[in-house]
């Protein structure tokens, strides 16, 4: 394994994400390569420094507060079949609206066009003698 191949795998090696065979090959390379060992040492150093980033402990009463907030807002327990009922209701509503739209459209199209009649009355055609 060459240096560039090892360096590409160093993060996975550090995080134990390499398969055993690849790990062995990386280890074998590291034994004989000071530069790659130094790169790995840098990564290990960063990883060690991260241990300094301590997070606070849970404060007393957190569990009770979380539990209380959930109990105030009860779980959305859905009765079996409710989802199907909602879907069917939505489909029925869409069908009804489509049908109603067609009916209204038909009613309008069957009436004489009011604008055309009014404009004809307003400007009668002069007889051409």
């Amino acid at each position: 394994m060459r240096c560039f191949q090892v360096r590409r795998r160093l993060h996975r090696f550090l995080d134990r994400e390499l398969d055993p065979e690849a790990s062995r090959r990386v280890e074998a390379h590291l034994c004989g390569c000071i530069a790659c060992r130094q790169t790995l040492a840098d990564l290990v150093h960063v990883k060690d420094l991260l241990e300094e980033f301590r997070a606070p402990d849970v404060r007393d009463g957190f569990a009770a507060r979380a539990l209380g907030s959930a109990l105030i807002a009860p779980a959305q327990v859905r009765a079996p079949g409710t989802r199907w009922f909602s879907a069917m209701a939505a489909v029925c509503a869409i069908l009804f609206l489509t049908w109603a739209g067609f009916r209204i459209g038909e009613a309008y199209s069957s009436r004489p066009h009011q604008d055309v009649i009014q404009s004809a009355l307003a400007s009668p055609v002069e007889p051409d003698f």
Binding site: D42, V46, K47, P56, F62, A63, A70
Partner: protein, 194 residues
């Protein structure tokens, strides 16, 4: 019918509930068992709070986010996909909450200045340790959110690349790339502690 109404009221035995898996607890929460939810909070309160704190940098905000995550678990227990691990699902919820919080671009809280504990054997060493801890905290919190999330999941929560990828809704390759960039940045920013 009557049994369904009575079941939630009956508290499970503490010893029994501690033996069951997270996934079974969610199933019981979906059936309205409050004791199962309590146990789930006990199991996940520390990782949830620490994860949120490492992302948002403020304890009160982290508590609110963790509490909201538990609330969503309780509300959506019915919708839980039993094929997925609970831990992955829970952290997905938490990551989404933290992501929304970070989008609001609230300033990060960097905590109190380093203080030396009274009676410390060597005040200068204690001070240096505190100083280093704060520097690491600042360096992590200055990373872009996605890199920070990948780092916190893989390093502090000890998740595999695959699990972190599932939580972040991305690929393993992308998680690796995020980690490489995060560590490279940290190495440069923490050069003084070599």
């Amino acid at each position: 019918m009557i049994w369904n109404r009575v079941k939630p009221i009956i508290a499970l035995e503490a010893t029994e509930v501690r033996r069951v898996s997270d996934e079974t607890l969610v199933e019981r929460i979906a059936n309205g068992e409050v004791r199962a939810f309590e146990e789930l909070i006990q199991r996940y309160q520390t990782p949830a709070l620490r994860f949120a704190f490492r992302l948002v940098g403020d304890l009160h905000e982290a508590e609110d986010l963790a509490q909201e995550a538990f609330l969503r678990v309780y509300r959506n227990a019915q919708r839980y996909n039993y094929a997925a691990r609970f831990r992955t699902w829970f952290f997905q919820i938490l990551v989404n909450l933290c992501r929304d919080w970070l989008k609001k671009k609230k300033p990060l809280f960097f905590g109190e200045p380093p203080q030396v504990a009274a009676g410390a054997p060597d005040p200068s060493q204690a001070m240096e340790r505190e100083w280093r801890a704060k520097a690491v905290e600042r360096a992590v919190q200055s990373l872009p959110p996605q890199q920070r999330m990948a780092l916190v999941l893989c390093h502090f929560e000890e998740m595999s690349y695959r699990e972190a990828a599932a939580v972040l809704a991305t690929s393993e390759k992308a998680v690796e790339s995020l980690l490489v960039r995060a560590r490279r940045t940290l190495r440069v920013r923490l050069l003084e502690f070599r």
